[in-house]
Amino acid sequence: MNIGVFVCHCGSNIAGTVDTEQVAQAARSFPEVAFATDTMYACSEPGQAGIIDAIREYGLDGVVVASCTPRMHEATFRKTIGRAGLNTYLFEMANIREHVSWIGKDKEANTNKAIDLVQIAVEKLRRNTALFSSEFEINKRVMVIGGGVAGIQAALDCADGGLEVVLVERESTIGGKMAKLDKTFPTVDCSSCILGPRMVDIAQHPNITLHAMAEVESVDGFVGNFDVKVRKKATYVDWEACTGCGQCMEKCPSRKAEDRFNEHVGTTTAINIPFPQAIPKKAVIDPGACIMLTKGKCGACAKLCPTQAIRFEQEDTVVQEQVGAIIAATGYDLFDFTLYGEYGGGRYPDVVTSMQYERMLSASGPTGGHLVRPSDGKEPKDIVFIQCVGSRDHSVNRPYCSGFCCMYTAKQTILTKDHIPDSQSYVFYMDIRSPGKLYDEFTRRAMEEYGAKYIRGRVSTIQPRNGRYVVKGADTLMGSPVEIEADLVVLAVGAEASRGAGALAEKLRISYDGYGFFMEGHPKLKPVETNTAGVYLAGSCQGPKDIPSSVAQGSAAASKVQALFSRDKLASDPQVSSVALQRCVGCAKCASTCPFGAIEMTEFRGMPKASVVETVCQGCGVCAVTCPQGAIQLQHFTDNQILAEVNALCPY
């Protein structure tokens, strides 16, 4: 082999603490190295041209680049040598930036370590072989998990682009949080007026299959060919027959079912359609509250239903969906404020969450759009809003800013004034975060035109007094404590990861952060990708986001899927396992350990042998360490290659 070594300065990133010239010098003495040089920016246009020139000039047939992490630029350099006509697997990278220059200051030690890493790469490269990927078909269907505004946008964009879409929603209706909102900032337009038509589009789009009351049970396969099991929960109503007329709700005697859609402001009937614009508009029975299902008698709904849709014996079903890509859009949940004992821990009826307040503001909400105190139904006059409840608070392990609560609080003060002109709103805030277009102007309007009184400080405690609530806060700009007697207190509760997000991430094999938000592929450059090919993110499942950003991400994820599906076939990664038939004794240990089920047992001349399904193999290498014969080897990471690396590092 004629090996070329290129040692990158990365500006001063590497050259600052590594003598790159000396590394190149040392490389020249390694076996089969025909050429070695240092270079300013290997990844730049002239840097890549230099590599191609050297390949041609010195007849190189293998290349080592000593630079940054392969996660950054392996693909770049593989393409480079491909352009010069080499097989892209005759390439190795030595990471002398993250593993050397960024972590040590001692130039001499750094240089020595860099030389070692280059030597390891050379020894590996000497044993590399040309690998060739094969192609496989893509299933051009896409699954969107979560039917909030982000998921709706992604589904519609994909479907409009001609793709078949499967939308899976956990609740009985799509719409997510936005469906619960009254009006939306910064334009104060009616939420259901702008979301409603989109929801109807989902229901009517010929390319979209909607599974509501459903959750993903398992995900098998890989990009282009995912195999997803979806559990459709029992609704006790035959949705084929149900017309959504709602007659059942009128006569249901069980009225104590929890009303999740209305954020538990009040209760609802055991058989229920959460709101008039629900999509799908189908009734669902809450088995815990239904008298028939708990006590075996009643059946009022069944008698009334004009289409005989009630099915008390219904059970969960599991459907299987084959898709080529998945978009996760599972949104967020709200921080459980009962952790704050100082705010009553849920004991005070007139201390409500911001989302409960949205429902109270909404004309289709439990109070018919009348702002009243839950305790006595009276109209509140003094309303205190407390921001950052469950956000920016280390003591409850929520140090992050939820991003949108400053804005919706300003909105709610404006709507409060519209509802009750002689009311006074007070807002306790720490900072006002309003960096969007027209956002800061909006918060100013709340103060200047709607008279909301903003007080800079946190609230220490809320104490009931004579049927009202004493809110004890501070005005740090005045340098004093303040007390306000309120009729109603609204807590701007922060956003946290959606319930069950971690479990879903594990099924999708994507990473999530310490709070349960899904991790994007790169914080700047891959905002809607994940580290698992074919799985994308949209909306606040990745971190708190307002509606415009969630929608933008929905569209972005859809366009990523379109790009993926613009090809008819995908190239498989040739870094998969392969079996040396003459060594394999057919013990099937590999087949039983493979986490992806990629190994099949076959027969060869009457002997049992293992055989790898290349499209399923993820190249994890578990089989290779299991095989007692060393018969199954992971291509590009064979025992010989790895031992050569070890020997280079520890020659004695």
Binding site: G345, R347, P464, R465, N466
Partner: protein
């Protein structure tokens, strides 16, 4: 009922200004099978004056008591006084750090392990005997008595140190009083500070802070306040006349130690419980408690 032995740290006020707390605590523990062995020759923990002057001095004063208790065969150290409790617990916690531990040992000149569990009497009693179990021993239920439970500011705060009950809405006294038959009113000032430590130097501050507590208790219709802290009790009881004068109020609000009311419900006599030591005369309030025995006496 099983008997468990504890090293008992009465605290200085138990020898004087809160003697009725000490006496009624001993009586309650005895009747519930919590055996108290006084820490022999215990010394003052230094209270706020010590920790406000120096943390090493404060810890050293505590550590001598810890060391003595460690030589006894006991399940832990318990004290009725939250201020002592906070000092004992804080010291024991800080002594987990070797550098500080060594410094303290060099000052007290004896080995201190600082590893015994330290608890309030309230916590011990409730861990030893569920309120429901205590209810079964009640011979004179506190029926008809409306009380507000006042825990004081440091019985369960800071939570990392005190590790007992909820720091914002503690319920242990509530549960105990309910089990004894009293009606417990929801009290917003359960853990608010009464200002007791400033009593001698800034009475003006104390009358403001304590006034609020009395005002709310009265507004809620409480017959009495139930206290668990000698400083709070003294402040609200002995100073009630001062508070009334300063705030132009006319409260007559008895302030009991919870141990006194528990003793009463368990059938101990008012004199054994030193009801006569309370400054705000509780006689009218006690008459509210349904009491066949009392009726007999008056006949």
């Amino acid at each position: 009922m099983s008997v468990t032995q504890y090293a008992y740290y009465p605290g200085c006020s138990g020898m004087g200004s809160s003697i009725e707390y000490d006496i009624s605590t001993r009586a309650l523990c005895k009747s519930l099978g919590v055996e108290l062995l006084d820490i022999p020759d215990w010394n003052c923990c230094g209270s706020t004056p010590a920790h406000a002057s120096d943390h090493l001095l404060s810890a050293s004063l505590v550590a001598r008591n810890l060391a003595i208790a460690e030589s006894m065969d006991v399940a832990g150290i318990i004290t009725p006084c939250p201020s002592c409790l906070k000092n004992l617990k804080t010291t024991s916690l800080r002594m987990q750090r070797k550098a500080f531990h060594d410094k303290v040992e060099s000052i007290v000149e004896r080995p201190v392990r600082a590893d015994l569990p330290i608890k309030s009497v309230l916590q011990t009693v409730l861990e030893h005997c569920e309120p429901e179990a205590i209810a079964s021993h009640v011979s004179r239920p506190l029926k008809g008595l409306k009380v507000v439970p006042y825990y004081g500011c440091i019985m369960n705060r800071p939570p990392d140190v005190m590790t007992f009950d909820d720091p914002e809405n503690p319920t242990s006294l509530d549960r105990l009083m309910t089990a004894l038959g009293a009606e417990v009113l929801p009290f917003p000032h359960k853990v608010d500070c009464c200002g007791a430590s400033l009593g001698l130097v800034r009475r003006d501050l104390v009358t403001t802070l304590s006034g609020r507590i009395l005002d709310t208790a009265a507004a809620l219709g409480a017959h009495a306040i139930v206290a668990a802290c000698p400083m709070c009790q003294m402040n609200l009881d002995m100073r009630q006349s001062q508070i009334n004068r300063a705030n132009h109020t006319r409260h007559h609000m008895p302030v009991f130690y919870y141990t006194q009311l528990a003793g009463l419900a368990l059938g101990q006599s008012e004199s054994c419980l030193c009801m006569d030591k309370l400054c705000v005369n509780p006689a009218d309030t006690l008459r509210l408690v349904d009491c066949p025995a009392a009726e007999e006496r008056t006949r």
